[in-house]
């Protein structure tokens, strides 16, 4: 009899042990596990697309991209579905988490551009071209192109393929990125295809150094140009 009770107890406890709920950490890291499948430590090429890294990019920029995917202003179906039922507040929390993660930049990838082209690109990056109303890239992306908090991403450590795809999106007004005009898509449209090709090779060859700059480095004129991006704090659609 006693044996029976004992084995009964053992039976139930063993079932209970097998069925003990999985332990889940109450952290934001645990909550964004679903992103890590694609956004690991490094940029990588997936089966369907190029997966950019997101760690260490400025929070406001990441937040804007997340909202763009969710609201159909930047198009990548898997992320649109994933984010469909999330609010601005929650996206902001995710963005801040990824922005705060440390990131080791890849080594620069040397290019084989002719020196005349390199010179042209350097002028474009540091001084722009007033005849085409093109400000210097550095006027917005920071003197060392490491980005400006919180809305402007850095330009270094991004691979050629990703750069080319982003410019393609802005320039063709295509599904990926160009549907809504903003300061960056306007600039991308003014560049020539040769310039875009060269930038996509030149930028990855530059060594990344330093941190994103603070927003006060931006001239008022640049802030004015990018108003739609900087003031994009709209109310959440319930």
């Amino acid at each position: 009899m006693r044996l029976l009770i004992l084995s009964g107890i053992l039976f139930f406890t063993s079932v209970a042990a097998a069925d003990a709920p999985v332990e889940v950490a109450d952290t934001i890291a645990e909550r964004v596990k679903s992103c890590m499948l694609c956004h690991g430590d490094q940029d990588k090429t997936g089966l369907d697309a190029y997966y950019p890294r997101i760690t260490g990019k400025p929070a406001g920029y990441l937040f804007n991209q997340l909202r763009n995917f969710r609201d159909g202003r930047r198009y990548y179906q898997p992320m649109a579905i994933l984010l469909e039922n999330l609010t601005d507040e929650y996206l902001q929390e995710m963005a801040e988490y990824f922005a705060a993660q440390p990131y080791n930049y890849p080594l620069p990838r040397p290019h084989a551009l002719p020196s005349a082209t390199v010179q042209e690109i350097q002028v474009l990056v540091d001084s722009g071209d007033a005849t085409r109303d093109l400000p210097a890239c550095s006027a917005c992306h920071g003197a060392d192109l490491m980005g400006v908090k919180p809305f402007i991403p850095g330009l270094l450590g991004l691979p050629s393929a990703y750069l080319a795809a982003q410019f393609g999106g802005w320039r063709n007004g295509g599904v990926m990125r160009g549907q809504v005009p903003n300061c960056m898509s306007e600039i991308a449209r003014k560049l020539s295809q040769e310039e875009v090709n060269a930038l996509a090779l030149w930028l990855p060859a530059q060594a990344a150094s330093g941190e994103p700059a603070e927003q006060d480095v931006l001239a008022p004129e640049m802030v004015e140009r990018c108003q739609s991006i900087f003031s994009a704090r709209r109310m959440t659609k319930p």
């Binding site: 999985v22 679903s34 890590m36 089966l47 369907d48 898997p78 994933l82 984010l83 039922n85 999330l86």
Partner: protein, 425 residues
Amino acid sequence: MSISISAKYIGRLQLVVLFIGWLFGILFPAVVWAKDTVETKQQRGAYLTRVANCAGCHTARGGQDFAGGRILNTPFGEFVVSNITPDAETGLGRWSEEDFWQALHHGKSKDGRYLYPVFPYTEYTRISRQDADAIFSYLRSVTPVRQINPEHKIHSPYDNQFLLFLWRTWYFKEGVYQPDSTKSQEWNRGAYLVEGLGHCNACHTARNVWGASKDDRPLGGEIVGSRWYAPSLVSVQQAGVGHWPIEEIVELLSTGINQHAVTSGPMATIVRQSLQYLTAEDQRAMAVYLKSLGEQDKDQQSKRKIPPMPEVVRQYLARGESIYEKHCQDCHGKSGQGAPGIYPPLAGNRAVTMNPPQNVIRSVLYGGYSPVTAGNPRPYGMPPYQHIIRDVEISQVISYIRNAWGNFGSLVSPDEIDQSRGSEH
């Protein structure tokens, strides 16, 4: 001592207040009523519009509230949702209460055109005139948006108004909800919400080629223009909730998740946009009615005998098991036990074993988060596997979870995986 005195005193005071209130209600019903015609009517309208989730369809992704422009893809063609802001040229600015009633109740536009039943007037026809007028008064108060939306692109012959007329005579049963006097007031409120405002049957019934519900009862069906299957609200093997306590039904409707289930795809969206905002009384009423629907399920199956498994099947499932261990076990647990309320258990989960299997396939292909709600403000997420593992592997792992830990369901093939793709939501 002093405590008991003040308690008594408050008790008295309450009685007096109640009595005055009662007297007032009897003596001045007209006064109370008249107040409903001004702001309260609009406020009530705002609430009812939320329950009916008009914004869910009439607002394009990232677009302006109620300005329409969203495109609904269906086998009959592309339907463009109308602008229902009070803009005079492009919206409802020139509509009267009567015009609006014609649309909501009879499915006719201001110009007499028959409306397509993608606009669920087939359900909204149950809404009372008083509620319809309140919705209209709210819609007149929203910001007018001047926005001309593109035309529908409907395949022939569905674009024919005469065919639509025939369809209506066959399938459209017009009429405001009639309370069932044998049932409680709460049950009737729930039925009104589910059948009318909530238009649950627009999805939860089988639709035939003409987009008409085959059966009045919510017995489940594929949603027109979507690969999601809206399960039966009657059957215990699908989404019938006859066997759940009321509190757990309310929890699912209001937070999108409970210890047995999570809402996914279009249902998660309905919870986010609409159900979470219902008053506690309305959520409860809905639950009471849904529970009674579930109790109608006669063929509650007794313990089924699981047939022995042929060797080939066993091998197929073994491959699924190793994929499960590699990709899924971390969150859903070694024995599919999950972490109820966070990572849904897969063992004993009818969403996993349901026939047809398209929802479980879509869950694995596309992943997703439960909706953000006040009760679940920071949900956990399921990764999308569509581009991570191949279709064969997806079919193996799904076949495995449908048949592990006492689960029993049909095996799925790579072809079925492919057929469940597409049409975002």
